[in-house]
Structure formats: structure tokens, C-alpha cells
């Protein structure tokens, strides 16, 4: 099935009904009649999108969706391919399936995610795979791959799963992280791993460490090769030197459990 944006929303459009799971088994007419929230008004999905084709587990979206929020909310399977930029809260609470965005995404990609994968070919905003405000446990499984850059607080409160950023990340990467893995192939902002309890943050560039982190050793972690080869398969550019190189290992955050690690490529 394909949804093509024919009328750009004037104010934010909250369209959590758009997702391969929620549209499964519906006809074109039924999909067009679904309710979306255009600001404070309820309107039919067909007012904004042209619906074509039959739902067979693969949903394509086309157009500038930079005012369209909550796409793929709670999806548990299938594929959603988006050609264009999207607004915030992409794949909120998803537990399975795959979202590919051939464009940029705004804040809160994969918020409260439990499984499945999200691939952003462009850049992402703040709070990639981050914990909902006020909660302690964030992303609990799945993968988020951002080919470009992301902003602050990527992987905040991460409990399980993989977040990989092909470019740079902002401040507080892996903030209050409980477990899981974060890869940043470019540079990280400041205060990486602040408040982290466990988990691994890996970067290929030097980074400033908080005073509550301590240097442990420089070594060649074998497990990284598996991760990096996997990321290469997903399309991220992996330098051969990273596969066999040495990494500085920093432990922290000592204010918390001090069982987290930050691995920085050394040589």
C-alpha cells in the first residue's frame, strides 16, 4: 500500500494510525476514512493522503511529512518505507517490524521502543531512542541506525538494544544508560555517559570524559568486530582500521554503579 501526501498539513498532524500493523487488512477506502488529528481538529486521513494499493505488510509513504508525527506508533511487524522528512515520535513504542526513512527525522525517534528496527538515512533530532521524561527505563530492545548526525540525549536511559549513529551525536549521549550499546562513528558532544550504570558507548573519535569517569586500559576488544561488521552490512561506512584497532576503555559513571564503559578508538 502507498500513501502519498497530496495536501500538506498547515499545523502538526498526529497520525498514529499510519503504520503497517494498524492498516493491516484495511481497504483503500477504509484507510482514507481513518481519523487523524490536525491540530485540535479530527479529520479523515484521505484529506491529506492519497491511498493506493493493497496492504501486504509493506507500507510506503511519500511526501514532505515534516509536520506528521507519531508514524508507526506501536507497530509490531511489517515494513514502513518513508520517502521524505518526518516529524517527531517516529516508531513510538514499536515492538517489531522495520521503518526506513529516506530523509531526516525530528526528535524522539524510537521513543520507548521494544523491538524491531528503525533506519534513518539522513539526520535525526534530539532524544533518539531516549527514555520518556519522568521514566527510568528507555528503549528496551531493537535497533536504531542513523546514517547522518543526531542531536542531544541519544540513548538516554537505554535498557537494551543497539543505537548506531553514522555521523556525530550531541551532548549527553547515553545519559543515565542502564545497559545496551551505542555506537557513534563520528564525534560525540560533551558529557557522554553522564549517570550511566552499565552498557557500552563506542566512538571512533576522541571525546572529553566527565571527571567521574576513570581510564581503565587500552585494548583490542574482539566483540567490536562483530558489531562493526554488522553495521557495515547495514550500510554504515566502517574503516578497516577500526576492526583491528586499539580502544581506550573508560569506566563510569562513578556517581552511579561505575559499571558502564566508554570505548574510544585509539589507533
Amino acid at each position: 500500500m502507498k500513501l502519498t501526501l497530496h495536501t500538506a498539513p498547515e499545523v502538526p498532524l498526529e497520525a498514529e494510525v499510519i503504520g503497517p500493523t494498524s492498516l493491516n487488512g484495511l481497504t483503500e477506502a477504509e484507510v482514507s476514512a481513518l481519523t487523524v488529528h490536525h491540530g485540535n481538529r479530527k479529520e479523515a486521513l484521505g484529506e491529506f493522503f492519497t491511498v493506493t494499493g493493497k496492504m501486504n505488510g509493506r507500507l510506503e509513504l511519500e511526501g514532505d511529512l515534516s509536520f506528521v508525527k507519531l508514524l508507526g506508533k506501536g507497530m509490531s511487524g511489517g515494513q514502513m518505507i518513508i520517502d521524505g522528512n518526518v516529524s517527531g515520535h517516529l516508531g513510538v513504542g514499536m515492538s517489531g517490524g522495520r521503518i526506513v526513512v529516506n530523509g531526516n527525522a525530528q526528535d524522539w525517534v524510537g521513543e520507548d521502543m521494544k523491538g524491531g528496527s528503525i533506519i534513518i538515512k539522513g539526520n535525526a533530532g534530539h532524544m533518539v531512542g531516549c527514555v520518556v521524561r519522568g521514566a527510568e527505563v528507555g528503549m528496551q530492545g531493537g535497533e536504531i541506525i542513523v546514517h547522518g548526525n543526531c542531536k542531544n540525549e541519544a540513548g538516554g536511559g537505554l535498557r537494551r538494544g543497539l543505537i548506531a549513529i553514522g555521523g556525530n551525536s550531541g551532548d549527553f549521549t547515553g545519559l543515565n544508560m542502564l545497559a545496551g550499546s551505542i555506537f557513534v562513528l563520528g564525534e560525540m558532544g560533551i558529557r557522554t555517559g553522564a549517570g550511566m550504570k552499565r552498557g557500552s558507548i563506542v566512538s571512533m573519535k576522541p571525546a572529553q570524559m566527565l571527571p567521574t569517569f576513570s581510564y581503565s586500559c587500552t585494548y583490542q576488544p574482539i566483540f567490536l568486530r562483530f558489531y562493526l561488521n554488522y553495521l557495515r552490512e547495514l550500510g554504515l561506512v566502517i574503516d578497516d582500521a577500526w576492526l583491528t584497532g586499539s580502544y581506550q576503555r573508560w569506566c563510569g559513571d562513578s556517581i552511579e554503579l561505575n559499571k558502564g564503559e566508554i570505548l574510544l578508538y585509539h589507533s
Binding site: N40, R133, G134, Q208, P211
Partner: protein
């Protein structure tokens, strides 16, 4: 209200009046009011800021009560026009609220609810990160009265109360004698942490100068010491503060009897924002393992604390609240006004007692100029000048009675000095909300 009629001029003295300039909300003002000229000619007990506040708020009766598209209009027509704009909008925003009474704030929340609108206060560009920080980690709180009577350690972090809240130190926190502080200033230690020396440094026993943007690191270091954890020596280079000073500060904080951390926008509006304030709250929580420690933000506007308080008990959230779906949702960054405007999402704005055109980022101002704006303000402002509907209101505290919240969340009643010919914010918001209800019902 305690009024004593003086003899020569037609004056009145208002005792125990309340100053609504800053978050101290001092309620011991003695105002001499010239009733003929409708102005305050003397404000005893007021600080330099309070004196200016009282003396500058005379009433210009020649101003129209309302302007629609720059043309003079009746209040009824203006309310009708404002109601039509807001009801026809898909993403109306209500913003401001920090310089009005809590009664008006409550009415504004009701209006936002009926409109399914977005409502936000100036907290989102001020101490909003404070609310976010304490949501995450909790708030060891207090009142200024408790500080006055008990605090033997006062820390001013990233704030300059000597210039911005002149009576905070002299009336509440540093100078006064208290129940357990019999010798006043002599019994207290004052530490000032800032990136540069300010007027507050002059009243401090210890000044800690840190590199700009290294507050979180220094707070982490102090937390680390208070928890007995190992500290990376790079802290000296990162913060510019010698290890001996950090250890000295930590020791002083841990060994006092009752400590208070005041902080300002040096923490909330610098890199790290809500994590800076969260770290400060966590430092206080950690210090409670050693002694008693509390935290208070040094809030700016007279009733900005009220805006947070009213919105919290009305909606559950302190600022950045969205009613688009019929129920309140809170998401700083998504439903905070500057972000909404920068992304070009709002299609109408109701600005109450605030001047975003003079303060917001350029892209936000550009969008605000494109959409219909309704402004409430006692004075002409850059915002009222671009407003489709500009309403002239009476000034809270000077002309309008009601309630405001002090920076320590204590509600204080207002004792107005003289009457204004203009309506209060509440006087307009009530019929406006009623008209919105009627229009929405059809």
C-alpha cells in the same frame, strides 16, 4: 487594606502592600499614593527595582482599552474578535502568564482547555529546566522563612540576587537574624559560584569562579566527593577550579547544619540546562546524607512561580502543556512556545502579560508576525504593536488584587494601590472564555 488619609495632597498610604516585580514578592511595602495623579509617589521598604516598578506604573487614561488592527475598538468588539481568531485556529497557543495574578492564570488554563490549545508560560525560556530537572530527580524544598531561621550555609550558583533580587539576601537569606541564627550574617557562610565576579560576589565568604559551561562537571565533582567516590584529576582543567577548592567547598557543604542552594539562569539556560538543575538537586539529595540541604530557584518575574504552580494543579504539568487531543500533554521542546514558533506550527497566539517579540529568537518572531496575535499588556510593547487585537489591562499588584506565588511557592495576597480605568487580565479572560464556550458549542 489599611488606609490612612494624609492631609496636604489627596494621598493614601497603603501598608503591607506587595511588590510584584521579582520572585521575592516582598509584602511589607508602604506605598504613598497620589489619588489625583493616579501614581505612587513613595514606596517605603522597596529595593531599587521595586521603587522603579512602583514609580513607573502610573496610568495613562488616554490609551484606548482595545485596538483591532491598530484601530481603536470597544472591549466587547475586541473580545469578539479575539474569540473568533482563537476558535477558528487549529493550533492556537497561549503564552506569557508570569506577570499576572494566579486567578487570571487559572482562567487562562480553562480557556486553553475549551480551545484545545497549547498553553505555556515564560518558564519555558527561564526556569523551565528547573521543573524538568526536579521531575526527574525530586525536589528537596523549603520556604524562605525556614531559610531565614535555620540556614547557616547559603550558596548562590549561577545567579546574581544582589542585582536581580536585591532583598533576597537582606530580607530573607543572609542578613536577617533567625530563630537558630541569632547573629544573622555572622552565623552564615555564603558561597558564590559563577563564571565571573558579580555584585553578589561582594557579599560572599567564598567565590568559586568556574569556566563557562562547566557547571555540570563541578556539580558531578561535588557529588562524587560527598559520596566518597574517586574523582578524575582532569576536573581542574575542565572547570578551572583547583582540586583543593573543590574539596574545601564539598567539606563546607557537608559540615554545615542547614544549607540552601539558590540557582539562576547560569544553570538553566546554559549548555546542559535541565541536567544542570537535575545535578544540583541530586547534589542536595546527596548532601542530605551528611546534613540538611535544600534547593530553591531564584525565580524572576513576580508570579512566574504561580504560573508553574497553577498549571501544575490544573493540568498536572508546569509549562509546555498541549490540549490538542482534549487532554493535557507535556513535552518540553515539542509544546514549548519558542520551539512551536520556530517550526512554524502555531496559527494564532494569545500573549498574556509578556513580550515575546522583544525577547524570542528571530525565527520565532518571524512566525509570530505571520499569524494573528492577541496581546494583553498594561503598556504598549513590541508585541502589542504587531497584535491583531491589543488589549490594555490594569497592572497586577498596583491596580489589581489577587494572589501571586513567591519563589518558594508561598501564595501572597496583593493589596493594590489605586484603581485603574482598564480591566484586569481576569476581567477580560472571563468573558473571552465564555464567548469561546458559546462558539465551540455551535
Amino acid at each position: 487594606m489599611d488606609k490612612n488619609t494624609a492631609t496636604e495632597k489627596n494621598t493614601t498610604i497603603i501598608k503591607n502592600a506587595t511588590c510584584t516585580f521579582c520572585g521575592c514578592v516582598c509584602d511589607d511595602m508602604e506605598l504613598t499614593v497620589d489619588l489625583d495623579e493616579k501614581c505612587i509617589i513613595k514606596s517605603k521598604n522597596a529595593c531599587v527595582l521595586g521603587k522603579a516598578w512602583f514609580s513607573e506604573h502610573s496610568v495613562d487614561e488616554s490609551r484606548p482599552v482595545a485596538l483591532i488592527d491598530g484601530k481603536e475598538a470597544s472591549l466587547e468588539d475586541a473580545i469578539e474578535e479575539a474569540a473568533q481568531i482563537l476558535v477558528n485556529a487549529r493550533f492556537p497557543i497561549i503564552y506569557g502568564l508570569s506577570d499576572t495574578t494566579s486567578e487570571a492564570q487559572r482562567q487562562a488554563v480553562a480557556m486553553a482547555d475549551y480551545l484545545s490549545a497549547n498553553i505555556d508560560s515564560t518558564s519555558s525560556v527561564c526556569h523551565g529546566p528547573t521543573g524538568m530537572g526536579l521531575q526527574g530527580v525530586g525536589e528537596p524544598t523549603t520556604t524562605l522563612g525556614e531559610v531565614k531561621n535555620r540556614a547557616d550555609m547559603v550558596v548562590y550558583w549561577g545567579c546574581n540576587p544582589t542585582d536581580c533580587h536585591p532583598r533576597l539576601s537582606t530580607h530573607f537569606t543572609v542578613m536577617p537574624k533567625g530563630m537558630y541564627i541569632p547573629n544573622g550574617r555572622k552565623d552564615r557562610t555564603v558561597i558564590n559560584v559563577d563564571i565571573r565576579s558579580t555584585s553578589t560576589t561582594n557579599i560572599a565568604d567564598l567565590f568559586v569562579q568556574l569556566k563557562p559551561g562547566s557547571d555540570y562537571e563541578l556539580l558531578s565533582a561535588l557529588r562524587s566527593i560527598s559520596r566518597g567516590r574517586r574523582l578524575n584529576p582532569s576536573i581542574e582543567e575542565q572547570t578551572g577550579v583547583p582540586m583543593a577548592t573543590i574539596e574545601d567547598v564539598a567539606h563546607r557543604l557537608m559540615s554545615c547544619n542547614y544549607g540552601i542552594l539558590f540557582f539562576g539562569m547560569g544553570l538553566t539556560m546554559t549548555r546542559g540546562r535541565h541536567y544542570n538543575t537535575g545535578a544540583l538537586h541530586l547534589l542536595a539529595a546527596d548532601l542530605n546524607e551528611h546534613t540538611h540541604f535544600v534547593v530553591k530557584p531564584a525565580r524572576g518575574h513576580g508570579n512566574v512561580t504561580g504560573a508553574d504552580t497553577v498549571m501544575s494543579w490544573q493540568t498536572g504539568y508546569p509549562f509546555g502543556v498541549n490540549f490538542n487531543r482534549g487532554y493535557p500533554r507535556h513535552e518540553p521542546g515539542e509544546f514549548t512556545t519558542t520551539d512551536i514558533l520556530v517550526r512554524g506550527e502555531a496559527d494564532a497566539a494569545c500573549i498574556i502579560a509578556s513580550d515575546p517579540i522583544a525577547n524570542f529568537a528571530r525565527p520565532a518572531i518571524e512566525h509570530l508576525k505571520k499569524i494573528p496575535v492577541i496581546s494583553f499588556d498594561p503598556k504598549p510593547t513590541p508585541t502589542s504593536q504587531i497584535a491583531r487585537v491589543a488589549l490594555t489591562t490594569a497592572c497586577y499588584g498596583i491596580n489589581v488584587p489577587g494572589t501571586v506565588y513567591r519563589m518558594d511557592d508561598i501564595p501572597i495576597p496583593l493589596r493594590p494601590a489605586f484603581e485603574s480605568p482598564f480591566p484586569s487580565d481576569l476581567d477580560i479572560l472571563k468573558p473571552l472564555t465564555e464567548r469561546i464556550r458559546e462558539l465551540k458549542a455551535h
